[in-house]
């Protein structure tokens, strides 16, 4: 009885070593993000981007003469799931990882990758401390961080629109509150304007009439809102209904077609920041065309960033000449790479140089970039 168990055990061990032995012949690109659940629309485009890049590179002969293999894992954007996902990717022997999508999940997973010495690149996690804290030398991203957005929004309100009294609201979420806090900080630092109101609103509440009344009472000229489109639509509708005419400035989470649909006329004239319109870059158009040819639809959120991240990671391995952690890390920081978000390399903290935001406004039911 005991002997059979022992034999079985050693067999299992033997098999697992054999399995890793085989696996060394490919470069393994892990992809993690929400691929199911309500946040799936934010994760699936990056996953498809990785598939397209890998398909293209493999057709051209792969990286360092080896084929690239994808390991795709779903984290549902939940921190506790993300650690499972990260463990799975590490166990399966991923060399580099593209992901995660949500900042919280990324934070939870990063420690695991750091211990396992795996470079990670997110197309979407915009939380500033991820790079700025310096705690994660293995983290990179192809999107600019939230404080850049907030800085741009505040700069726009104060210098372009010339407004002095600003109300800052948020949805009490990770993303929205982070944005709002930066906005508050930048307004106070500018010395040209003041924050007259700083509060969180409850997502899902029936109306925001009291808060809109408060904005009027405090005489704010602009409302900077950190959060997502469902609350933003309710806010602009409530403002329109209550005949309150102040500039509405928000973030990338609001720059979503759903905002246009749901808020309708009330959305007209609202401002929001979002990644620069990059459709003039040739690679960008090519990536979009490849997506359309494959799936027959428009790519969704973070597709270009995901595409860029996959390209940058694989390029770094090629340039480094191996999948060695230090070599790849170094290559990411020194070698420029052509991507759909421009020609980029990464700074010492892991942020992509030359990636940024611009301000958009809603005009005739569409987003228009303000130059």
């Amino acid at each position: 009885m005991k002997k059979t168990a022992l034999v079985l055990l050693s067999l299992v061990f033997a098999l697992s070593t054999v399995a890793t032995g085989f696996a060394a012949d490919t470069i393994k690109l892990g992809v993690a993000g929400p691929h199911s659940g309500d946040l799936a629309p934010y994760g699936i485009p990056a996953m498809k981007a990785a598939q397209l890049v890998v398909k293209k590179i493999n057709a051209e002969g792969g990286v360092l003469g080896k084929q690239v293999e994808l390991l795709i894992q779903d984290d549902e954007c939940k921190p506790e799931k993300a650690t499972n996902t990260a463990t799975k990717l590490v166990t399966d022997g991923a060399d580099v990882v593209l992901g995660h999508i949500c900042s919280g999940a990324t934070k939870a997973a990063l420690g695991i990758y750091k211990d396992a010495k795996i470079p990670v690149m997110s197309p979407s996690a915009t939380n500033p401390p991820l790079t700025q804290s310096g705690e994660y030398p293995n983290f990179f991203r192809t999107i600019a961080s939230d404080d850049m957005q907030a800085m741009l929004a505040v700069d726009f309100a104060i210098n372009t629109l010339g407004l002095k009294k600003i109300a800052v609201l948020h949805d009490k979420g990770d993303y929205g509150k982070g944005f709002a806090e930066f906005a508050k900080q930048f307004v106070e630092a500018s010395g040209k304007a003041e924050v007259v109101l700083f509060e969180g609103i409850t997502p899902g509440a029936i109306n925001y009439d009291s808060i809109v009344g408060k904005i009027r009472r405090d005489g704010a000229e602009a409302l900077i809102f950190g959060g997502y489109h469902p609350e933003a639509s309710k806010l602009v509708q409530s403002m329109k209904r209550k005949r309150l005419d102040v500039a509405f400035i928000s973030d990338d989470g609001v720059k979503d077609d759903s905002f246009l649909k749901v808020a309708g006329e009330a959305a007209e004239g609202a401002y929001m920041t979002g990644p620069k319109d990059l459709s003039s870059i040739p690679l960008n158009a090519a990536a979009t065309a490849a997506f359309k040819a494959e799936y027959g639809a428009d790519p969704g959120a973070f597709f270009q960033e995901g595409y860029s991240a996959a390209l940058a990671l694989l390029n770094a391995i090629e340039k480094a000449g191996s999948t060695d952690y230090d070599a790849v890390n170094n290559a990411l920081r020194t070698e420029y790479v052509e991507t759909p978000v421009g020609k980029i390399k990464f700074d010492a903290k892991g942020d992509a140089e030359g990636v940024g935001f611009s301000v958009y406004t809603v005009k005739d039911g569409a987003f228009v970039e303000l130059k």
């Binding site: 055990l9 779903d74 499972n84 166990t91 919280g104 934070k107 705690e135 990770d174």
Partner: protein, 405 residues
């Protein structure tokens, strides 16, 4: 026969009517398109027709079983009878323990990791089992205690660099304290009032953690929480996962031992008595306030303790992990497994936590099945997968008396 058929036909037509707008139509007002999905209606018709037969059959069976029970026949399942045999139980437990100890050596890190998640829910379930299963106090905000434990460790670790082992009992104590604090004002409330107030407490916890920035760092959460240490050894991922797994196994065994003892203790019987009939119980001289508070506190204790482990396993926590859904899942573990039964809770946790991990492709149907299972379980098997065993004392005749006399 024909009556059944007619009835099923009628039910099927009713469900087609009922599901028609939501399942067959999808409107997109922006692109001005209405999508008709009439095929769905055919499936609904067939499905509800078949299910109505199953429904009737099950109800019949329930009735028959009830009747045999009333006639005094043995309604226990074979498994149940076997479980009541103590020697079999010890053997089974020993076997399980060996499997549990060997498990991380045989499988890979990922498998170990999800098993840790399942074990966390086992402890949570056992904790809630005290409050809901034994004492009959419905708690819809149990996740708050779990969160308190997690935040206790995260904050103490962040500010004072306290280690895992120091904080583990502290997490339990803080959970306990919160349990008592929350328990006090609601002592006088009965079942249904309790449900909404505890639900409210659960939500308050989340809102406070989101807004009290200076304490909890708000919604962005706390990162880089230490993993449990072992004499300052440096461990890689696989090793520390295995290590956490063994801590978790020890914690589960500890929880089972204690809750089992509690169940058969004086206070445990007081809880059960309170659940069965509050007024009669108080009339028998049981201190209602103390019994209720102890049920809250002892249930919360485990949640707080395992919260510490959760924080140190994920190394990152934020308020989004402590939603009502989490409370509902823990509650359904207890209900599905069988209220009051320890084995049932373990089974329930394994089914509800491991299944979605293995059936990742079907994960979107998971919550649907979850909800349906909760309702169906109450209707057809209200005692759960394994119904709670009650200590039995059999009268062995008068032989002893003869000997003594």
């Amino acid at each position: 026969m024909l009556r059944d058929f007619k009835q099923s036909l009628l039910i099927s037509a009713w469900f087609v009517f009922l599901t028609f707008p939501l399942m067959a139509v999808r409107v997109n007002t922006t692109d001005q398109v209405v999508t008709w999905r009439l095929m769905n209606m055919v499936w609904v018709a067939i499905g509800s027709f078949v299910l109505s037969y199953a429904w009737r059959f099950m109800l019949e069976r329930k009735k028959v079983r009830k009747k045999t029970a009333e006639e005094g026949a043995d309604t226990r399942s074979k498994l149940q009878i076997k479980l009541e045999d103590m020697s079999f139980r010890y053997k089974a437990m020993g076997g399980l323990l060996i499997v549990a100890l060997v498990y991380p050596l045989v499988v890979n890190t990922y498998q170990t990791n999800i098993m840790i998640s399942a074990l966390i829910y086992v402890v949570l379930g056992l904790g809630l089992n005290i409050t809901v299963g034994l004492a009959g106090l419905l708690d819809l905000g149990f996740v708050a205690f779990f969160g308190v434990g997690a935040y206790t460790f995260a904050l103490l670790n962040h500010h004072f660099d306290l280690g895992f082992w120091m904080t583990l009992p502290l997490g339990g104590v803080f959970g306990c304290l919160l349990g008592v604090i929350l328990g006090f004002p609601i002592l006088r409330l009965r079942g249904d009032y309790l449900a909404i107030v505890t639900l409210g407490f659960g939500m308050i916890f989340k809102v406070v953690m989101e807004n009290w920035d200076s304490l909890s760092f708000g919604p962005s959460g706390i990162a880089n929480i230490d993993k449990p240490g072992l004499f300052g050894m440096d461990m890689n991922l696989a090793q520390s996962t295995t290590y956490i797994y063994y801590i978790m196994i020890a914690l589960v065994v500890f929880t089972i031992l204690i809750t089992n003892r509690l169940k058969n203790s004086r206070i445990g019987r007081a809880w059960i008595a309170l659940r069965e009939d509050e007024i009669a119980c108080v009339a028998m001289g049981i201190d209602m306030a103390r019994t209720k508070l102890s049920a809250y506190a002892l249930g919360a204790f485990w949640a707080g303790m395992v919260g510490v482990l959760f924080a140190s396993k994920t190394t990152f926590i934020n308020p989004a992990s402590f939603t009502f859904m989490e409370s509902a899942i823990i509650l359904s573990i207890v209900v599905l497994g069988g209220m009051g039964s320890i084995l049932g809770v373990i089974l329930g946790a394994f089914i509800l936590i491991l299944m979605p991990e293995y059936l990742r492709d079907l994960s979107e149907y998971r919550m649907l099945a979850f909800g349906a299972a909760m309702a169906l379980m109450m209707i057809f098997r209200p005692q759960g997968l394994v119904s709670g065993l009650r200590q039995k004392y059999e009268y062995k005749g008068t032989k002893d008396q003869v000997n003594n006399g």
